[in-house]
Amino acid sequence: METLKRADRSNKFFHVDEVTVKFGGITALKRVSIEVGKNEIRGLIGPNGAGKTTLFNAITRFIPLVSGNIFYQGQDITPLKPHEIARMGIIRTFQKRGIVDSLTALENVMTGFHRLMEDVHLWDIGLRLKKFREAEEEGYHRALEALEAVGLHGVADQGADVLSFGQQTLVEIARALVSKPKLLLLDEPAAGLSATEREHVMEILKALPSKQGVSLIITDHIIDFVMEVCENLTVLNFGEKLEEGSASYIRNHPDVLDAYFGRG
């Protein structure tokens, strides 16, 4: 296996260690390990049913693990609950879009700011004290900025339910960005986007590590998108890690081609 590119792996920023997940009798993930360095953009690819979304669900603890551990900045985060994982700065998006339909686009993005409003208490809110007003105002402006960054400032006050799938994707990315993540897990961020939107999202994501010190794990079926954005790729197939390496290495790897297209 070719050595992974660029990433600083010595500090073990994020480490999934031999995680196994079962649904009934089916093994959805079998002793899968991934290491992601600080400021690395890691692609996670594989055919349908390979276990990409399951791995995201396992990392964010939406599903129970049979065995294995997850380490983040040297800490074992396996016993944490989903909201505690998010609180630590590991933010995810959903393949079927985790948009709250009855909120406006702006309010959706503001829920991303929830993580940074931890110290605003009920009495601050009820009595509209200074702490609340400052936090809410900051959240409001940051959410507007984030919507502007993804090119959606025009629909800020529209209900999220009337947005297109592509726009919902962008709202979800904006919500993730506003919460100042340290590790961002994006589940098919390019699906449903137009070519220009995809180009735009690509630029935003590529700039994240250097600008804001964010590491990313991205899954997608649009291989060109993944190849363009990610430095290193991990390939899953039938719940097992098939191969790992730089984008160019993976692109021409015979086993990977087999997994996608079948043996000719």
């Binding site: 709250v100 009855s102 406006t104 309010e107 929830h114 809110i125 809410e136 006050d157």
Partner: protein
Amino acid sequence: MKRENMAKKSVKWLILLAILGCIPLITNSYHQYLVNLIFVNFLVSLGLAVLLGYCGQFAFASAAFLGIGAYTVGLSMVHLKLSYWLGLFLVVPVSLLFALMAGIIGLRLSRYYLAITTIAFTLAMRFFYVNGGGLTFGPSGFNIPVPKIWGFSFNSDHRLYYILLVVVTILSALTINILRSKVGRAFIAIRDKEEAAAAASINVKNYKMLAFIMCGVLGGVAGGLYSVVVGRITPDEFGMMQIIFHFMIVVLGGLGSITGLMISTIVITLLPELVRAVKEFQEIVYGGVIIIIILFAPSGLYGLIQKYSPFKFREKLQWKP
């Protein structure tokens, strides 16, 4: 600029309060009684709106909390000879305790089971009032003493109104403030997509519990106010009919809307009185009118306002400086 806006806002609220304060000048005793009922119904429905409308929990415990509040105040005045004010204050910890219990159960049950359990809880409380013997005065209920303060007696509907105005305004303002913030956004996120809420670092369990507590305390205090408004409480007032009554107010108003809730409280409270003219057909007309409203406003009165109002109208869940 900001300070100016805030001053403008407070002037607006003061004018509204002044208008509300003048209501007793133009009402007779019966009309004032109806206004008082509207205030009580608004407070208890607001509690249910938080739990059901915003947080999406199918818990129909508001009628039980109303009863708990009313009986706590009444019994503490009659048995313990406490003043009304102390009794009303006592309602807060008592209903909080019951709300915690309901919440602990509520977190373990999903929607339909939660609905059945909370309805059973309401009926069980009614059963307790009926069979409480000397403690609860049985099925025929008991009279609530008139509240007094420094020799001033709140012995008319007009005088009672000012207690309601103060308590309901303060509690509603606090509640609405809380809803128009990260808390309201968290509630709606939990209602619409629980996983997305958790992924945004929202502690789903804690926020559900908060919704139960808000529903419990608002319902309890409303019960404490209700007891003096009606003057005499009986167990039958806190049964199935009361549950349906609150449910109708919340659903008719439109889930997750305060404006709709205000209008529907007025409509649903006054409707039985308005259709009183048709005597024996009263219940039929009452039911018929509600069916018609639901048919033409499937998303509640709030949806109707949004559809037909000439200007764009959407309740914000954020604070605007």
